[in-house]
């Protein structure tokens, strides 16, 4: 639990942002150690993007305060701006311009003279595998290429802190892996990354620490290991042959696992958490015991699986309400 608090990239306390009747950010506290990847995990509408926009000086908070490398995001916004970059959820490049023009434009705005800006743009396009697409308008790029030119724009002057707002949402698996690799390389060179995501496995793979946020507040914080242990080591998914046996199966399962059982929309399906204090081998043991008890009670199970907790289940565990996610999201870790 002991992050080095003497060297913080971000320190936010009691941040509030209200839009009309909605409290998008509602008392958010955050401490992000420098030199790490910090994951902010939450469903659509949890306040992730609003929080990032406040920290990146795009929105003024209605309450609380935040500093980035010791500079106040409202009073010393320019000092913050000179040290951070943002790659937003939607392309933060000009889609009407070519990749080359975008990077030269940004280089000029960051103070490079024209020849230097052109050289730098060329190097970045090369490093991001976009040399062939340099003279094409960004609107004709694939999703993965767009994301790459966006990140290239963000590191034109290597920032001390890089905000990545849902960098892989909507990307195909290969492009997602490319973005993950890029993030790892950028962090290895000393840039702190704050990453927002809806995917537990993305936060799990990349982040050194994770804050889970819901309704504008941090509801859990820690290393991925700590977080998973608090939620449980796994999740059991069951499909029964006979739907009339479901109430009985629920009783048996909740007794065997000692945790609440969720009735899925599918009338023969059930989902339950296996806590086992985060220990995966003990979780497997508990799950097989539960399966044996079901057989003993005469309940026929057609399909059985034990997987990592999904974001939905993390939410269910932490908030007692399911993550209300948009229709555009892909399936979670299908285990």
């Amino acid at each position: 639990m002991s992050a080095d608090l003497s060297h913080l990239a971000i320190e936010a306390s009691d941040l509030v942002k209200v839009f009309g009747a909605t409290r998008a950010v509602d008392g958010l506290d955050l401490k992000v150690p420098a030199g790490s990847v910090y994951g902010v995990l939450g469903p659509n509408g949890a306040g992730k993007t609003t929080a990032v926009r406040i920290l990146a000086t795009l929105l003024r908070p209605d309450g609380g305060q935040a500093t980035v490398f010791g500079h106040d995001v409202v009073r010393e916004a320019d000092a913050v701006r000179s040290r951070v970059s943002l790659t937003g959820q939607y392309a933060s490049v000009d889609e009407d311009l070519t990749g080359m023009e975008n990077l030269v434009l940004l280089g000029r705005l960051l103070g490079h003279r024209k020849p230097a800006a052109r050289d730098r743009a060329g190097q970045l396009l090369e490093a991001f595998g976009l040399t062939d697409a340099a003279d094409r308008q960004v609107k004709n790029y694939s999703g993965g290429m767009r994301r790459r030119v966006d990140i290239a724009a963000s590191i034109l002057n290597t920032p001390d802190l890089l905000f990545l707002d849902e960098p892989t949402t909507g990307l195909d698996p290969r492009s997602r892996n490319q973005v993950w690799d890029i993030i790892r390389i950028v962090v290895a060179h000393g840039t702190t990354v704050l990453l927002t995501t809806q995917y537990l496995d993305e936060a799990d793979r990349l982040a050194d620490r994770i804050a889970v946020i819901d309704e504008g507040k941090v509801i859990a914080e820690g290393t991925p290991g700590e977080l998973k242990a608090s939620v449980g080591a796994g999740t059991v998914h069951l499909r029964l042959r006979d739907r009339t046996q479901r109430p009985e199966a629920e009783r048996v399962l909740s007794r065997a696992l000692g945790s609440p059982v969720q009735m899925d929309a599918d009338p023969v399906a059930l989902t339950a958490r296996v806590s086992a204090d985060g220990d995966e081998s003990r979780a497997a043991e508990q799950a097989s015991r539960a399966l044996a008890e079901l057989a003993h009670a005469g309940i026929t199970v057609d399909d059985f699986s034990l997987g990592q907790p999904s974001l939905d289940e993390v939410f269910l565990a932490l908030t007692d309400h399911p993550a209300d996610r948009g229709p555009s999201t892909d399936e979670e870790t299908a285990a």
Binding site: R53, A56, T57, L58, R60, D78, R81, S82, V84, S85, L86, G88, Q89, Y90, A91, S92, V93, D94, E95, D96, L97, E101, L105, L106, R108, L109, L110, G111, H112, A116, R120, Q123, L124, E126, A127, F128, G129, L130, D132, Q137, S142, M145, A153, S154, I155, N157, T158, D160, D172, P173, R174, Q178, D181, I182, I185, V186, A188, H189, G190, T191
Partner: protein, 284 residues
């Protein structure tokens, strides 16, 4: 889980990020000095020019629209008001040039409104640069459109028989004053572009302001022919002073008072609407 569904032809060998190549472009701590306000604004102006280069059709409204305006009003009113279209053109042309260019300024608001909704403005607003640069640059780009529209009208006018007494210098001075005023006037539209929700509402609001402002002036007829209450409005309308000033310059007899009031009006518009625009921009 198959990744072979990628149908877009990116390149023969898929990109894979390499630590060595990416490492060479990562240089923490190296930052050039920030650009001056003027340099940043000119860079944003260059962005506007690049957009025109990629979508040249957007120049249609600054070429076709002014030509239609000149032809329409010259032949519509010329016979009735001055017995001859050629005589009327000497009076009308500077005014119709002002009307067309001032009307074109509203596209500044439409442009800001659509542009600001896109993610790229998030990036601009996180840059450590002079805050108004993005908007000043956008208006620089629009100034090119104003010059193009003015040139088109002058050329059409010359073909139809417009013979300005002020000569080349007088015409250039008139166009120059109009462009300076339009630059100032554009800040009204940046404000509406930031204030209103949609492109349509920006257009609607622009029409509501532009029609009375351009028609209730001395563009088409002498104000002495109007009832007293209307003359009172026409007298304070900055467009009236602008038209009088441009007319006087093109006629080779500069009316210093009218030029002065035009510049004062322009400065006031920038002071008021520029300030409101930047407040809205910083809050957005």
């Amino acid at each position: 889980m198959s990744t072979a569904t990628e149908t877009r032809a990116e390149s023969a060998t898929p990109y894979s990020p390499a630590a060595e190549t990416l490492g060479t472009v990562l240089a923490p701590g190296q930052r050039p000095a920030r650009p001056s306000p003027l340099s940043a604004s000119i860079t944003f102006g260059w962005r506007a020019v690049l957009k025109i280069k990629h979508v040249p059709e957007q120049l249609f409204d600054v070429t076709a629209f002014p030509i239609i305006m000149v032809l329409m009003f010259t032949y519509l009113f010329g016979g009735a008001l001055a017995d001859s279209t050629r005589d009327y053109l000497q009076y009308l042309l500077p005014g119709i040039m002002v009307t067309s260019v001032v009307m074109i300024t509203m596209y500044t608001g439409v442009g800001v409104n659509t542009d600001i909704e896109k993610g790229v403005f998030d990036r601009f607003r996180t840059l450590p640069i002079w805050r108004p640069a993005a908007l000043v640059g956008a208006i620089f780009g629009d100034v090119l459109r104003y010059i193009l529209a003015s040139t088109t009208i002058i050329l059409v006018g010359l073909v139809l028989g417009f013979r300005p007494q002020g000569g080349v210098f007088g015409v250039l001075a008139g166009v120059g004053l109009l462009v300076v005023f339009s630059f100032a006037f554009s800040w009204i539209w940046t404000m509406f572009g930031l204030l209103l929700r949609s492109e349509k509402s920006v257009m609607g609001m622009s029409m509501l302001i532009l029609f009375p402002l351009t028609f209730l002036s001395n563009v088409f007829v002498q104000p002495v022919t109007m009832p007293g209450w209307l003359q009172a409005f026409v007298e304070v309308n900055p467009i009236t002073h602008l038209v009088a000033a441009v007319r006087s310059l093109m006629a080779g007899q500069p009316a210093v008072g009218e030029i002065f009031w035009t510049l004062v009006a322009g400065a006031l518009i920038v002071a008021v609407f520029g300030t409101v625009t930047m407040r809205l921009y910083n809050r957005k």
